[in-house]
Amino acid sequence: MFILREAFRGLSKNKLMALVTFGVMFFSLFIFGLFLISTVNLFLLIQKAEEKVGISAFLEDELSDNEIESLKRDISSLMGVQEVIFVSKSEAFEKFREDLGEDSDLLEALETNPLPASFDIKLYESFKDPKNLESISRKVDAMPGVEEIKYGEEWVKILDRVVKVLVGIDLILGVIISFSSIFVVANTIKLTVFARRKQIEIMELVGATHRFIISPFLVEGVIEGILAGGFASGLLFGIYNIFAARLGDFIQVTRELFIIVVVFGTLLGYIGSHISVKKFLRAPIGTELPKGK
């Protein structure tokens, strides 16, 4: 087919330009891949931090098993509550001892267990913001048998703000990286198209449709984009494998990353070529300046 033949002809006749375009795409996609890895980890971190967000409801000492059961049922029925876990006095004591570690000997001096029983209340993701936390806490606090409520108000507020700022920065960064990649790639491809502007002129002259004129360039761009995406994510995987052990379970690189980078590379090639070729369409054909002979 003519379009494919032209595309390969373009790539092989202009190896240097094809290589430069590939290089620019590769670099853009590598940056894009790094950005993706950072984003995935950022969200992982946020998720981990938010897992810790929950409400502890400390109970009065003299509650019967029945009262505890019905209290648990009441709390579970509140909107936003995912799970309610009972922590008995002795469990709390065990945990406290573990937390102390070496210093746990000190506890031997105690005659009675001073720690209260409690409920660990886990919330659904969408209820882990300061407002919902406060309103749920207030409802639980008002229930009979609940002595005290703790959910780290200050920390939750800070976490909430930090998450919003980080996600915002991440989004803006993503948009900047995407658009500047397209801009740089389109400008690089423009050099390739410029070298072949005469061919475009002749195509217009003999009546090729614009779709037909653009197609070989799109095919070239997409081929280069796929290759650049493949190599860029390959390098990212290589780097990841070297550092993976050291960074432990922080970094998470998945097969999806590979696919996304290649898909973005394809888009980059497609959009980049489209933008650049468009600039050369409908250029005046018959404008040699008058010769004056």
Partner: protein, 232 residues
């Protein structure tokens, strides 16, 4: 076939490249457009293949109106028109055969037809023996014949030639004129712009003389005088 009504072309403010042009060109005519350099010959031809559009007035070519033609329709108009230039506009990285077949390939013509048509057209311009040559291996006159072949291979109803002999020697000029005459004899209208008045002087064909953007003479009639070429 081609009609031009009350047409002005203005590139810069108040500077008329063409002014108040009215022309009618019939099927199969042979026309010379002459006049001094910068008078507007190229501009007139560009109007006809809709490379530019009139500032005022209307140009109608093969049923397409300059005022209403859609951007998407222009390629289909161009397929009915052959255009050649002083600078040939050949692709340097393709041989003669590929340069000619290019015009058919980019309009998605079936491969079998391409070969047949190209070979026939190359024969028509007497270049069969050079079908594997690249443009840099050909003389100016030969290159112009390649560009003529590329223009003709789509079998246009009209051939527009803008100074086709501007870059070739007198001997090739004669060959090219003869070729254009043959093409016209087979039914294709030919419009040739040139400032080489001596080429036109003794010609029997219709002459349109342009000066300062205006048509100052139009002989209308094509006199039949076979001696024209012999007198060159």
């Amino acid at each position: 076939m081609i009609q031009i009504y009350d047409t002005d072309v203005v590139f810069h403010k108040e500077w008329y490249a063409l002014k108040n042009i009215n022309l009618k060109i019939e099927k199969g005519e042979f026309i010379f457009v002459t006049g001094p350099s910068g008078c507007g010959k190229t501009t007139l031809l560009r109007l006809m293949y809709m490379d530019i559009f009139p500032t005022k007035g209307e140009v109608i070519v093969a049923g397409y109106h300059s005022s209403s033609i859609k951007s998407k329709e222009i390629p289909f108009l161009r397929r009915k028109i052959g255009v050649i230039f002083q600078d040939f506009k050949l692709l340097q990285d393709r041989d003669l055969f590929d340069n000619v077949s290019f015009a058919l390939q980019v309009t998605a013509t079936p491969r079998k037809q391409i070969k047949e048509k190209v070979l026939k057209t190359i024969a028509d311009v007497h270049l069969s023996h050079k079908r594997d040559s690249f443009p840099y291996q050909l003389s100016g006159g030969e290159q112009q014949r390649v560009s003529i072949a590329r223009a003709l291979v789509r079998e246009p109803f009209i051939l527009l030639a803008d100074e086709p002999t501007g870059n070739v020697d007198p001997e090739s000029t004669k060959q090219i004129l003869e070729l254009l005459k043959d093409i016209n004899a087979s039914g294709t209208a030919v419009i040739m712009a040139t400032h080489e008045i001596h080429l036109v002087k003794k010609s029997p064909f219709r002459k349109i003389v342009v000066k300062m953007g205006e048509v100052i003479e139009d002989t209308k009639d094509n006199l039949k005088e076979e001696i024209f070429l012999d007198n060159l």
